[in-house]
């Protein structure tokens, strides 16, 4: 039996560390809440219907909005996700399921390096790959830049989630006479899908706010454009150029733009989660 002194000491240590862990969690959540609250405080005032439906007005004219940048961001992110997510998932599947060889190690290493490449450099790569051959800036080039940034995050998340699927699950499928490719797609990937979707959402959220790789790819545009092969506005670009401008009205709009960007990211990830994970069954984890 431990003496009362020992008991008391253990209890105090327990309280201390539980309290420490709790307050640090509050700090993490608090940072997010603070950012969001500040954005609402500064941006909500300028956020109105015309901000969401109109294009920018020339300097000096009141009103106007970021509708073109909102649509532009959605387009660039759509192009980026359509290109980046399938490639990322495919690479992750290869490394996890078939990559117990040199090529697999190489792919994993490359993904890690790519993950660490500064986003401005990725923008340069997209500039070289798309802008120079096309001879002008475009939404497509912006999408390619974001896709390259998404690939390593998605592939690493896919790989890690697939490695969590017990070998017994793959054996069960193979034991039923289900071919290897079918097992990988319909059993292994399906079992890991919750984690993979989380990884995709992380990648999406990360690139949605990227500004640097869009500067010389999507370039920005003060006018309406839905043409993927033309320069296009994007929320981060618009926020950047308004924030460094000398006009108060533009500063207010930049705050509103930042708020819209955060809502876009949170809204999309919540929607994706809802659509893809809604049908999870009880006890499925």
């Amino acid at each position: 039996m431990p003496s009362n002194v020992v008991k008391l000491r253990r209890q105090l240590v327990d309280y201390f560390f539980t309290g420490l862990a709790a307050s640090l969690s509050v700090l993490v959540v608090g940072a997010l809440v603070a950012i969001f609250a500040y954005l609402v405080l500064r941006g909500a005032g300028s956020l109105n219907w015309s901000f969401l439906t109109q294009t920018p007005k020339p300097v000096g004219e009141a009103g106007g909005g970021m509708a073109n940048a909102l649509i532009g961001s959605v387009m660039i992110l759509l192009i980026g996700s359509l290109l980046g997510v399938p490639i990322g998932i495919a690479a992750g599947v290869y490394v996890a399921e078939f990559g117990r060889n040199r090529l697999g190690k190489l792919v994993r290493f490359t993904a890690d390096v790519l993950n660490g490449v500064p986003s401005i450099v990725i923008g340069l790569v997209a500039y070289g790959l798309v802008v120079i051959p096309q001879k002008h800036f475009s939404a497509l080039a912006g999408g390619v830049a974001l896709a390259i940034m998404m690939i390593p995050t998605v592939s690493r998340a896919t790989e890690e989630m697939l490695l969590l699927v017990p070998q017994a699950v793959r054996e069960a499928a193979l034991g039923l006479g289900i071919p290897q490719w079918r097992t990988t797609i319909s059993i292994t990937l399906a079992t890991a899908r919750a984690g993979i979707i989380t990884g995709v959402m992380l990648a999406f959220a990360r690139v949605a706010g990227e500004t640097a790789p869009l500067m010389f790819t999507a370039f920005g545009n003060q006018f309406w454009s839905l043409n993927p092969s033309q320069p296009i506005a994007a929320l981060p670009l618009q926020i950047f150029s308004y924030a460094i401008s000398p006009f108060d009205e533009w500063h207010r709009q930049a705050w509103a733009g930042a708020l819209v960007l955060v809502i876009l990211i949170v809204g999309t990830t919540t929607l994706l989660r809802f659509v893809f994970l809604r049908r999870m069954l009880g006890g499925a984890g």
Binding site: A168, A173, G175, L176, L281
Partner: protein
């Protein structure tokens, strides 16, 4: 009595280690055959060669002849073999994100059967045969396979294996992770199932072998030491090593 599985000079390796040194055996159809022996003697490797699961390990290799109803399994695609020779594993392994219904239907669905009525019928029939239907019929599509108890999960895995209508069912210590009541249910099930299909069951538990199987094979260090009627193996074995094992001198 007809032979369901005929094995000639079967050798198997993991990397450079030889795990089976030439096994010869003829397994009778619509009977249960138990495979016993101490840990690491090659029991599991042996049955995993019968449906070519052994080779799913990248290091593994097998050689020799395994004929299921006269067809050499190494002469036809592995997926075809595995549809004819089902398998139940030591630890219940339902597909965790699938409903009970989808677990049972998986083998058919993923091999191209999509007719709703066929699937419904097969699912019901297979769950009935696995003595699980009454316990799950109201939650077929609502509950995941992983939400069932361990014993129920194992019967679900048996139903899943039965759904593709195999001729032979391999069971690799199917009850070793289960409680006594669930074990008794699985053993009752083996009694029912062997009326219509051939069962090969690996077990650590000699009482279990004597309860469920007409024939028993004793493996030791990668060799099939003795293969005979179960009562002969347990009452009057011809090999000294078999006797030592069943009397508990080692193992």
């Amino acid at each position: 009595m007809a032979t369901a599985v005929e094995v000639r000079n079967l050798r198997a390796w993991f990397g450079k280690t030889e795990a089976l040194h030439g096994v010869n055996i003829a397994i009778q159809s619509t009977h249960a055959t138990a495979v016993i022996g101490p840990s690491g003697c090659g029991k599991s490797t042996f049955i995993r060669c019968l449906n070519r699961m052994h080779e799913t390990n990248p290091e593994a290799r097998a050689e020799g002849e395994v004929k299921i109803s006269g067809v050499d399994v190494y002469g036809v695609p592995a997926v075809e073999v595995r549809r004819r020779v089902g398998m139940v594993f030591q630890k219940p392994n339902p597909f965790p994100t699938m409903s009970i219904y989808d677990n049972v239907a998986a083998g058919l669905k993923l091999n191209g059967t999509h007719n709703r009525r066929t699937l419904d019928e097969v699912v019901e029939h297979s769950l009935e045969k696995a003595a699980l239907w009454d316990e799950v019929k109201d939650v077929l599509k609502k509950k995941s396979g992983a939400s069932l108890s361990g014993g129920q999960q194992q019967r679900l895995c048996i139903a899943r294996a039965l759904a593709v209508k195999p001729e032979v069912l391999l069971m690799d210590e199917p009850a070793s992770a289960l409680d006594p009541i669930s074990t008794a249910k699985i053993e009752d099930l083996i009694f029912e199932l062997k009326q219509s299909l051939t069962i090969v069951i690996v077990t650590h538990n000699m009482q279990q072998a004597s309860r469920v199987a007409e024939f028993t094979g004793f493996f030791l260090m990668g060799n099939l030491v003795e293969f005979d009627r179960t009562e002969k193996i347990f009452t009057n074995p011809s090999d000294k090593r078999t006797e030592d094992y069943i009397t508990g001198r080692f193992g």
